[in-house]
């Protein structure tokens, strides 16, 4: 088995191992799901559980990428713009671009987004 890297918490059990089976509130996940589209009528019990894990993976991936940008700036505190830049530079996070760039005139993220078109 591949050894985990410095930032990987796989061996230590990740978040779920420490805080209980699910680290995110299932009822809240379900509410967010329902709100996303009028089509969503019934949700099986296991769907929020799958999402709890998926969201964890999502947060971990976006956080790792943002952290790389924080390090590039020789900083130790992750800023909102680091997250925004990680979104802009990652294809699968395209759906988030409009969310992170609220002001196209200011901020490094907006400038970067404008450059990418």
């Amino acid at each position: 088995m591949r050894q985990p890297g410095a930032y990987s918490k796989l061996l230590s059990g990740g978040v779920s191992g420490k805080t209980g089976p699910h680290s995110l509130p299932l009822a809240r996940i379900k509410k967010i799901m329902k709100k996303s589209s009028e089509d969503v009528k019934m949700i099986s019990g296991e769907a929020p559980i799958v999402f709890s894990k998926a969201c964890e993976l999502f947060v971990e991936e976006l956080t790792k990428r943002a952290w790389l940008i924080t390090l590039q700036g020789k900083r130790r505190t992750m800023q909102k713009d680091d997250v925004a830049s990680a979104v802009i530079t990652t294809d699968i996070f395209d759906f988030l671009v409009n969310l992170v760039v609220e002001d196209r005139n200011n901020s490094t993220a907006a400038v970067a987004a404008n450059k990418l078109g």
Partner: protein
């Protein structure tokens, strides 16, 4: 009033449409913190941005999953629909690992019913740990993000 979670122009601070539909900042912050080195710090704004991104992620994947259900004339969005949607939307690693997580969860839930019927003292904690260990195995082949995209 349009209350769509995917609407453009959602402000980052004191947002209106998504304000009460965020996952708790403590939970989100904890996940972020645990993946970073111990000397890392995370600004509150970064955590808030992450909260919003997660809600958007849930909405995005759910819409895809729900459309599939509609096309197949099914009413209930289940775990597999989420897994398939993840794979369709480019989150291949998540989708594959979660499918196995889900089938293991279903196995354990089935076992738990049997165990609880036979032994009232129950093995609930063990079951959850088994599930977590299995998930770790299944995700051990996950690649850490490569730097290519960042240095284009």
């Amino acid at each position: 009033m349009e209350d769509n979670i995917n609407s453009e122009g959602a402000s980052s601070s004191s947002s209106t449409t998504t304000d009460n539909m965020l996952l708790p900042i403590a939970n989100v912050g904890r996940i972020m913190k645990q993946i970073l080195p111990s000397n890392a710090k995370i600004s509150k704004e970064a955590k808030e941005t992450m909260q919003e991104c997660v809600s958007e992620f849930i909405g995005f994947v759910t819409s895809e999953a729900s459309e599939k259900c509609r096309n197949e004339r099914r009413k209930t969005v289940n775990g597999e629909d989420i897994c398939s949607a993840l794979q369709t939307l480019g989150f291949d690693d998540y989708g594959g690992a979660l499918k196995r997580y889900l089938s293991r969860y279903r196995e354990i839930e089935g076992d738990r019913v049997v165990i609880n019927q036979n032994k009232p003292s129950g093995n609930n904690n063990n079951n959850n740990n088994i599930l977590q260990e299995d998930f770790l195995l299944y995700t051990s082949t996950n690649k850490t993000p490569n730097n290519d995209n960042l240095f284009d």
